[in-house]
């Protein structure tokens, strides 16, 4: 049995898909109502990405059902204004970024192909909300209070889910890092050990169509197709 077909992993993947569907619901509703044009554009892009991620993850999970009640965890219906949106969706996105970054440690090529892009995009979603946290956390007004209250409540629900996911993944030998993995500029995983901690040595390799990459994890050098 490969790592990617183990039931524990499929449960985590099914839960990610369920949570992403809930987040998409919020973003679709708010993508024309953000506080700035940039924020609305970001929500529209994230709604599209969440829908795509949920579809891919649901396919990877197969028939396995999520254990978590995603609707209760995200509580999309309680989002009535911008501060509560950030308080509800932000902690979930930060947790999703940590879990999807951890999933990149699963050594299964098929799984990696699908999860690699999701993890990179998820990191940007977390970026967006970390920025919103900084903006709202310093406010000493009703908006700031609304945000802090909803963030605190959501973090309580998310922490329980993050704990159970971490345990499930630890059983598969996958450890979550404190910080979402920043990846590499080219986002090319090492062909020998699968690590994404790689860097570009040279724009051109043995031929015009390849670049020379070095893996910081195992030290191997390899070539990658340049336009991937």
């Amino acid at each position: 049995m490969t790592t990617a077909t183990r039931p524990g992993l499929k449960v985590v993947v099914a839960e990610l898909a369920a949570l992403k569907r809930q987040l998409r619901t919020i973003y679709v509703k708010w993508c024309v109502s953000g506080p700035t044009l940039e924020a609305s554009s970001a929500l529209a892009a994230m709604a599209q990405e969440e829908a795509g991620h949920a579809r891919v993850l649901a396919r990877l999970a197969g028939e396995v059902a999520p254990l978590v009640d995603a609707e209760r965890l995200v509580a999309a219906d309680a989002v009535a204004d911008w501060p509560t949106l950030v308080g509800h969706a932000g902690p979930v996105e930060v947790a999703l970024a940590a879990v999807t970054a951890g999933l990149r440690g699963v050594s299964d090529p098929e799984f990696q192909r699908n999860v690699g892009k999701i993890a990179v995009e998820e990191r940007y979603h977390a970026d967006f909300f970390v920025g919103c946290f900084k903006e709202l956390d310093g406010l000493d007004d009703p908006a700031g209070e609304l945000f802090r209250k909803s963030r605190h409540e959501t973090e309580g629900r998310v922490d329980a889910w993050l704990g159970s996911s971490t345990e499930l993944l630890a059983g598969l030998g996958v450890e979550l890092r404190d910080e979402p993995n920043p990846g590499s500029v080219l986002d090319v995983p090492c062909v020998h050990c699968g690590s994404i901690d790689t860097r570009l040595l040279s724009a051109f390799g043995g031929s015009l169509m390849t670049s020379l990459i070095r893996c910081n994890s195992c030290g191997a050098q390899f070539e990658a197709i340049r336009w991937r």
């Binding site: 506080p35 700035t36 940039e38 924020a39 554009s41 970001a42 529209a44 892009a45 994230m46 009535a80 204004d81 911008w82 501060p83 940007y124 979603h125 970026d127 967006f128 970390v130 920025g131 919103c132 900084k134 903006e135 709202l136 310093g138 406010l139 007004d141 009703p142 908006a143 700031g144 609304l146 500029v185 080219l186 570009l200 724009a203 670049s211 340049r226 336009w227």
Partner: protein
Amino acid sequence: MTALPQTESQVYLVFARLHPVDPLGHLGTVRATNVDLARAFARTTYDEDKWIEMIVVPRDAVTWVKKVEEPA
């Protein structure tokens, strides 16, 4: 609806490149209250290509070496 937060925002210049050998090109600007938001906004506002590298620079951080003088 609760009043939207009023926080000081600043303009960030956005640069990106498509291939490792390409020069960084100036794409435009985004307005954001902090650098995390500027990164998120740059990615979603200028997502017309598959950039391999994208950077944001606070416009205040730019030092002019040579500049077109404004007419007197």
